[in-house]
C-alpha cells in the first residue's frame, strides 16, 4: 500500500489526521502566521471599526482554532474567513452601526478628481473605499469584498457565507451594481468640482 504511506506522510506533514500534539500546534502556528494579516484586512473590509480590529482578529482565531484540525488542508483560509464573517457580524452589532455616508468627499478627505493617480495616496484611497463599502448592506458588503477584493470564486463565497451558490452569485451581482452606482455618483460630483 505504497500510496497509503504517501498520503499518511503528506497528512502528517500537513499536520492533520495524525493528531500528535506537536503537529497540531505547528499547523495552528502556521495558520496564525500565514492568515492573521489576511483575516485582519478582511475584517476591516467587512466594516469592523478600526479600534476593534485587533481584538476581532484574535477572536476569529480563538473561535476557529477549536476545530481547525478538522479542516481540510487548503481550506483553512476559507474556514477562517467564514468565522470572520460571523465575528464581524457580532462586533458590528455591538458597535453603533456605521452610518452609510453619502458625503463621500468628506469621508475621503479633500475633494478632487478621482483618478488612479490621485488614489496613489493610500489613505485617501482607503477612506474612499471604506465610504463606498459602507453604503452596502452587510450581506452585499461581504459578498463584494470576498469576490472583488479577496478574489474568491462564487463557490468559495457560498461556503464562506453559508448560502447556496445562486444566492452568492446574486449578492455579488447586486453588490457590484450598488458599488458602481455609488462610485459613479462620486465621480460625477468630483468632476463637477474640478
Amino acid at each position: 500500500m505504497h500510496a497509503g504511506t504517501l498520503v499518511t506522510a503528506m497528512l502528517r506533514s500537513q499536520g492533520s489526521l495524525v493528531s500528535s500534539d506537536s503537529s497540531a500546534r505547528a499547523r495552528l502556528r502556521e495558520c496564525v502566521t500565514a492568515y492573521f494579516p489576511a483575516v485582519h484586512r478582511f475584517l476591516r473590509g467587512l466594516g469592523v471599526p478600526p479600534d476593534a480590529l485587533d481584538d476581532a482578529a484574535q477572536d476569529v482565531f480563538l473561535v476557529a482554532a477549536k476545530r481547525i484540525d478538522e479542516v481540510r488542508p487548503g481550506a483553512e483560509k476559507s474556514y477562517l474567513f467564514s468565522t470572520a464573517v460571523r465575528v464581524a457580524h457580532a462586533v458590528r452589532r455591538r458597535y453603533v452601526r456605521e452610518q452609510p455616508t453619502d458625503d463621500i468627499e468628506e469621508a475621503a478627505g479633500e475633494s478632487g478628481a478621482v483618478s488612479p493617480d490621485a488614489l496613489v495616496d493610500q489613505k485617501r484611497a482607503g477612506a474612499l473605499l471604506a465610504s463606498l463599502l459602507s453604503g452596502l448592506s452587510e450581506e452585499l458588503r461581504s459578498a463584494f469584498v470576498l469576490h472583488e477584493i479577496e478574489g474568491m470564486t462564487l463557490t468559495e463565497i457560498a461556503k464562506i457565507v453559508d448560502v447556496p451558490r445562486a444566492t452568492a452569485a446574486s449578492r455579488v451581482r447586486r453588490a457590484r451594481e450598488e458599488f458602481q452606482r455609488r462610485l459613479e455618483r462620486h465621480r460625477k460630483r468630483s468632476q463637477g468640482e474640478s
Partner: protein, 254 residues
C-alpha cells in the same frame, strides 16, 4: 464574472490600497497561548459549521496539491522508498498515485509521534512560509535519501512511475532550493528544465509560482507581473494565489 478591478482603473486603485494596507504584526505567541488554554469564547456558538471545510481524501489532485505545497514550502524531505511495510492509514483514492513518497515523518510510521524528537517532525517551518526574501537559516537537506529498509522487496512494475515522480521532485526541489538561497537564475533554469522534461508535470503550478518569484528576484519585474496576472487568472483559487499576489505587490504592477 470578471472583476471590476480588471475593468475599472479606479476600482483597481481602491482594491490595491486595501491589499497593501498595513496590518499589525500578529501577536503569535500571545494568541497561541490563549488558544492553548482552550477557554470557551463568547462567540463559539456562532462558529461556522465545519462540514463544508472538512477533509475529503478522494482526489489525486488534492494529494498532488498537498505534496506540491509541502515541496514548495520546504516541508518535505523526501525519499523514494522501497519500503513495503503496511501504512498507518488507508485512504480512499490513494491508489491513483502509483508511487510512494516518504516524508521524514514516515520514520514514525507505525510508532507514536511523541517517540520522536519534535525537531524531526516535518511540520512546516513558519519562517519559510510567506516569502522567499528571507535567506534560509541553513541548507535544507532535501536530497533523496536512501531507502530506509533496503531489504524490502520492490513492487513489480512500479519503477517507472517512481523514478519519474522522483525526478519531478528533484527538479522542483532544486528550483526551490535555488530560490530560497536567493539564486533567481538557477531557480529559473531548474524550472525550465522541469517544464521541458515534464510538460504536464504534477507540480506545474509550483513551477509557475517559483518562476514568478524568481523573475521578481532577478529584476524582471514586468515579466513577473505579467505571469503573475496570468497565473491568477487561470488559478484564482490556488493555494498559491496569495503568494503570487504578494509578488505582484512587490513588483508594483497594478
Amino acid at each position: 464574472m470578471k472583476r471590476l478591478e480588471h475593468t475599472d482603473d479606479v476600482v483597481s486603485a481602491l482594491v490595491s490600497s486595501y491589499r497593501s494596507a498595513e496590518v499589525p504584526t500578529p501577536p503569535i505567541d500571545e494568541l497561541l497561548a490563549k488558544i492553548e488554554k482552550g477557554q470557551p469564547h463568547p462567540l463559539d456558538e456562532s462558529a461556522p459549521s465545519i462540514d463544508k471545510f472538512r477533509s475529503v481524501f478522494d482526489t489525486k489532485a488534492w494529494i498532488a496539491g498537498a505534496l506540491g505545497a509541502a515541496v514548495l514550502s520546504g516541508t518535505v524531505l523526501y525519499a523514494v522508498s522501497e519500503d513495503r511495510s503496511p501504512p498507518v492509514a488507508e485512504v480512499a483514492g490513494a491508489h491513483t498515485v502509483a508511487t510512494e513518497i516518504v516524508a521524514t515523518a514516515d520514520r514514525v510510521s507505525s510508532g507514536s509521534a511523541s517517540a520522536l524528537p519534535s525537531a524531526s517532525l516535518p511540520s512546516q517551518d513558519v519562517e519559510t512560509l510567506p516569502s522567499v526574501a528571507t535567506p534560509p537559516p541553513k541548507p535544507i537537506t532535501a536530497t533523496a535519501k536512501p531507502p530506509k529498509r533496503p531489504d524490502a522487496a520492490r513492487a513489480a512494475g512500479s519503477e517507472a512511475p517512481v523514478s519519474s515522480l522522483r525526478r519531478e521532485l528533484e527538479l522542483i526541489e532544486m528550483a526551490r532550493r535555488a530560490l530560497r538561497g536567493g539564486d533567481g537564475s538557477a531557480c529559473l533554469s531548474s524550472v525550465e528544465r522541469y517544464e521541458s522534461e515534464f510538460p504536464a508535470g504534477q507540480f506545474s503550478n509550483e513551477g509557475q509560482v517559483m518562476r514568478i518569484e524568481a523573475l521578481a528576484l532577478v529584476g524582471s519585474r514586468e515579466k513577473a507581473g505579467r505571469l503573475a496576472h496570468e497565473f491568477l487568472q487561470s488559478n484564482p483559487k490556488s493555494p498559491y494565489a496569495d503568494r503570487v499576489r504578494s509578488v505582484l505587490g512587490r513588483v508594483g504592477t497594478p
